[in-house]
Subunit: 229 residues, 2 copies
DNA sequence: TCCCGAATGCTCGAACCAGAGTATATCTCG
DNA sequence: CGAGATATACTCTGGTTCGAGCATTCGGGA
């Protein structure tokens, strides 16, 4: 048997839910929604069913019964196996112990920022700031609501984490926007000049050569020799 | 033609690289490595070649020539099309303007934390803290090195962002570990009791019923009625 | 009574991705 | 000077993921 790769955390969610009681897939998805776990784990129907199949194939869960209510499609109810319980604990422990490298899309965007001009970037970042502020209030009111319901913090730590990351991103973006706008970001002058020339050109876009030349001193073919002063 | 989905940021990286000059796929991957962009964009060979194919199919890049050196496999050199340049700018703008929901694995883990006992969790978090501290120093020395090479900050913003997120996570985890250990986290008493009973049981693991009962007051079938005091 | 829309519960295909595998060329080091 | 390590440059395969689509049932209003 293929030695299971732990790629989709939705599988962990399934194991965790079945820990409580046997369920059929649709019920799992509804339960995850009800508990807002779909904010922390990517949930979509197609993936859910294939994840369940894969868990069955690896003996971590098993069909407990198939039932039907009225004339609806039959539902298969699954239960956790011993191997599944062990796997849940192991996997969860691993995730807590060892940070995994993530690739946020915004980070990718930052990598290629110089393609756009500084003024455009600053404008876009201001829009991002507004959106982030909205997200912050959304998350924070959701947290308050959970507290008001008497749900102890232990059960909503994921929201706290989310909030912490959101605030960190917001701070970063605010600082970045400011440093571009007021020109204190190192290299912004060169960046601006590059695009000033470009906007005079036919396309209005940065010309390939310009960018290549600007980068050349730092990334020579021989490998990042520092530009001699 | 299928209206291209913007899922893999590696495609954006390809567009950005070809903006500078035509390249063949292997050269792209090496350039990304050299510039450390593989820290911000998930790069692997298999994906690179399929991403390139897909971009060709959608007319965003095109084969410029095929060449061979000595007896090596032939290389196809690609160049950016006008449509590709537009797409790069649009996509990049979108990524900067609009935050996209990410699903960090650690957040998923936090969602299912109560499966483990508080002492185990605290121990695992202490290991995570050590690992995160190591990552922080790694990222920060890399940044300093880049600065020492004279590379202006505009070209390494992604590292700054990474560092900001890392610090935020570190702070969060340190706080969480402390609040579990000293018992100030709300609900930790109940959590501890749950597992104290479990460890006396045959399996040494939390019994399904225990967890279900603990959760029941907050997530009733009718939908999250607050437990009446 | 009958139709609309929401909820229930799953199926399917196409795209996507990861990473091992392949094959040659060059470099290195005793 | 030969053998292994490293670099070059893909190719293949099989699993994963997405999201639209399908089929049924139920409740509620005209």
């Amino acid at each position: 048997m293929a030695p299971r790769t732990r790629n989709n955390p939705l599988a962990l969610a399934v194991l965790a839910l079945l820990w409580e009681r046997p369920m059929h897939p649709y019920e799992m998805s509804m339960t995850l929604r009800e508990r807002r776990k779909d904010e922390s784990v990517r949930l979509n129907f197609g993936s859910l069913y294939s994840v369940v199949d894969s868990l069955v194939k690896h003996g971590l869960i098993e069909a407990a019964s198939t039932e039907r209510e009225g004339n609806r499609p039959t539902r298969t109810v699954y239960r956790l196996t011993d191997a599944g319980a062990t796997e849940a604990v192991d996997w969860l422990s691993d995730l807590l112990r060892t940070p995994v490298k993530e690739f946020p899309q915004f980070e990718a965007a930052l990598s290629f920022l110089p393609l756009l001009g500084p003024d455009d970037v600053a404008r876009l970042l201001r829009m991002r700031i507004a959106a982030l502020q909205l997200n912050v209030t959304t998350v924070d009111t959701a947290r308050e609501q959970a507290r008001a319901q008497g749900l102890p913090s232990v059960f909503v730590l994921e929201a706290d984490y989310d909030s912490a990351l959101l605030h960190a991103e917001l701070d970063f973006v605010v600082g970045l926007e400011a440093s571009i706008t007021d020109g204190t970001l190192e290299g912004v002058a060169m960046w601006r000049e590059l695009h000033a020339r470009a906007s005079g050109s036919a396309s209005g876009r940065l010309e390939p050569e310009e960018l290549a030349e600007a980068l050349a001193p730092y990334f020579t073919p021989e490998g990042a020799a520092p530009p001699t002063a």
